[in-house]
Amino acid sequence: MAAGKSKWGDWLEERTGWRLVQELIEHKDVPRHRHSFWYYFGGMTLFLFAVQVCTGILLLLYYRPSAEAAFESVQFIMTEVQFGWLIRSVHSWSANLMIAAAFVHMFSALFLRSFRRPRELTWVSGSLLLFLSLAFGFSGYLLPWNKLAFFATKVGTDIAGVVPLIGPFLLRFLRGGDEVTGATLTRFFGFHVAILPAVTTALLSIHLYLVQKHGMSVPPSVDPEKAPRMRFIPDFLLRDLVGWLAAIALLAGLAAIFPWELGEKADPFAPAPAGIKPEWYFVFMFQTLKYIPAKILTIDGELLGIMFFSILGLLLVITPWLSPAQRPAEKRGWLPVVGVLVIVYIAVLSAMAYLT
């Protein structure tokens, strides 16, 4: 802290008031209990997001967002650019790991009831960030302009077109026309590198501010008065670092042993390849839509499916107000049961999609 009290520190303090942050860091502590492990997934998601930002910026140096050049530019990145293969593979693998970490973070917050008063808005901002991650995944999947991505986007945007009232508008808005074309690619590129990052940055700032303001929650099963605490820096951050280094090692291993495939260039006139599947985090919804009958009591089955998932998404956002704010620790309530059922549903439907 000598530096903080130095002449330079005083100079900076006078102009920015930065010692407030320093004080905050010095005094910030977090609870320590048997569920602490799950709290590292928030930091892990944030770290993987940072990896996405860094590798994404590097990919932008060579990527060209047009139907004529996108595939070739990614091919160039993977074959000609020094370590381009590593950056592209890490970006793709990290995207998947980030969404997986976000899901784990969300479910752990649900089971540990971290959304209780006064952290409702932390939950809301977090759940919206999860949806943004999915939107990142959906828009980024098309960018290499390969066959599988082309047809998966076609199917995905077709589904959006079924939404009542705004469906046709939504479809044209997403595609930039009636069909998936170069206009869709340019549009998705815009979403992926400008709109979504801007919204995510704003929402992430709010989320992190709220986490900072309220501190980490303590699960109802743990007495907050009796739970020991540890300093955020260095104790918690060092543990975070262990996880992040392990994540880097995992990403490097995946990129070197299982480089992310590029596939064949998209051809709008070619027949759709057999067994098109979206990314794994959309598969359970895709599979559900396959099982819903075409018509249920004169209502379009696909429409019902979309409404079901829309309502589920809405319920996820307003979860803090669905569950009683205070509940004795020994009474678990219905929320964990619903959480487990949702996990089982996602796992079973995804397994069915990959096994059939």
Binding site: W85, L245, A255, I257
Partner: protein
């Protein structure tokens, strides 16, 4: 021609098109109660292209189908004075068909693109000449197309639909008894069925593949002479035909009166070509004419070895690229490039028809260069893969060390 004129006197095709088919035909009413060949025209009429276009019995046989049984007997509707000609003789059939099929004014009413030269061609064919000379065994229109129940050529059930043609010709040409007086072989249909063309057309239903009439003509059917064999094959195999025409073989074959393509490839039993056909070792064909040590013998050996060498190099490059691709390396560009090398190999095989190793040099060199580049790309991809794995191992060790140090630090902080 006089037969056609005679028939024209009693059968007016223009009138036949104009006159609507009677709703109730006496021909049908009587013949549907008869048996055997007299019932057949009634049974087959609905599938007949002529019937479908509005024609009926009297348009070919004359007579008046409108005279009903109530208003007169069969003898009235089949009265020669009403133009009834009855069953045409085998010599008359082609002329009868030609009344309509050689008249563009008539045919364009049904199909503006219809040919009208079949009868003229038929008269120049072996079948037509013998038919006109009174030979009752040679084919005429109805033998191939059917007399009643004539289907359109594009109809898959028609005997003249391309995949059915060999069987239709074979009905006579595979009949040893029938062919004995003509002293021609009877194994053509069988051989064609085993050939690369027969397999493509009849087994794989590839309608681009040739059948009997593609080489012999259909209405003007005649065996191609020795001089014109290359012209026949060259209709489809244009490059080979062109190269053969410029080769030394053309003159040599002409001098020895050998048919151009068929000398090496046969005529009906044309097998799938392979590199084994050239060179000096069994089953190569070259030693049949070229003595050991001769210039032709040495040229054949050189062509064979160069082609085999290019094929081996392309295969080796392909294997290396596949290994890299299986390991997840992005090698789609070199794989595509390799396909261009395979194109060169195919082109070199075509260039064999120049029978000159020097003429193949450019194509072979291009192919070898592509094979070398592809192999190099594959080796580079495999080297990159090894580099990545080594890099991964090094970075994993570094990361594990860092994790270990962090854990130590955490432990010390706890203490």
């Amino acid at each position: 021609m006089w037969q056609q004129l005679l028939l024209l006197m009693v059968l007016n095709p223009a009138q036949a098109q104009a006159a609507p088919r009677p709703v109730e035909s006496t021909c049908v009413r009587c013949h549907q109660d008869l048996d055997g060949s007299l019932l057949e025209p009634v049974k087959l009429r609905t599938q007949d292209i002529h019937f479908q276009k509005g024609l009926s019995c009297h348009n070919c046989h004359g007579g008046d189908p409108a005279i009903g049984i109530e208003t007169g007997g069969p003898e009235d509707s089949m009265n020669p004075r009403k133009g009834f000609t009855g069953r045409p003789s085998r010599r008359q059939i082609a002329a009868l068909c030609a009344i309509c099929h050689s008249q563009i004014e008539t045919m364009r009413k049904f199909n503006p693109q219809a040919r009208v030269d079949q009868y003229a061609e038929y008269l120049t064919s072996v079948h037509g000449k013998k038919n006109q000379a009174g030979d009752p065994n040679v084919a005429t229109c109805s033998d191939c197309h059917g007399a009643h129940g004539v289907r359109a050529v594009k109809d898959a059930n028609s005997p003249v639909y391309a995949p059915n043609v060999a069987a239709t010709c074979g009905r006579c040409h595979a009949d040893a008894k029938l062919m004995s007086s003509y002293r021609i072989p009877t194994n053509q249909a069988e051989q064609y069925g085993k050939s690369v063309h027969g397999e493509a057309l009849m087994k794989n239903r590839d309608l681009a593949a040739p059948t009997c009439n593609s080489c012999h003509g259909n209405h003007g059917a005649a065996p191609p002479g020795v001089d014109s064999v290359a012209n026949v094959c060259g209709q489809c195999h244009a490059m080979q035909w062109d190269m053969f025409g410029k080769s030394a073989h053309k003159k040599a074959f002409e001098e020895q009166k050998l048919p151009a393509c068929a000398t090496c490839h046969q005529n009906h039993l044309i097998e799938r070509t392979s590199d084994a056909m050239i060179g000096n070792e069994e089953p190569a064909l070259c030693p049949a004419c070229h003595e050991q040590g001769s210039a032709g013998y040495l040229a054949a050996r050189l062509m064979k070895s160069r082609i085999a060498g290019l094929e081996a190099r392309l295969a080796a490059a392909g294997q290396i690229l596949q290994r890299a691709a299986r390991a997840g390396m992005e090698v789609s560009n070199p794989i595509y490039k390799l396909s261009e090398g395979r194109d060169r190999l195919i082109h070199a095989r075509v260039e064999v028809h120049m029978f000159n190793p020097a003429a193949m040099q450019k194509t072979l060199s291009e192919g070898e260069s592509i094979a070398a580049d592809s192999e190099q790309s594959g080796q580079k991809a495999l080297a990159d893969l090894a580099y990545r794995r080594a890099g991964l191992a090094v970075s994993a060790v570094i990361l594990l060390c860092m994790i270990g140090l962090l854990l130590l630090k955490i432990r010390r902080l706890r203490a």
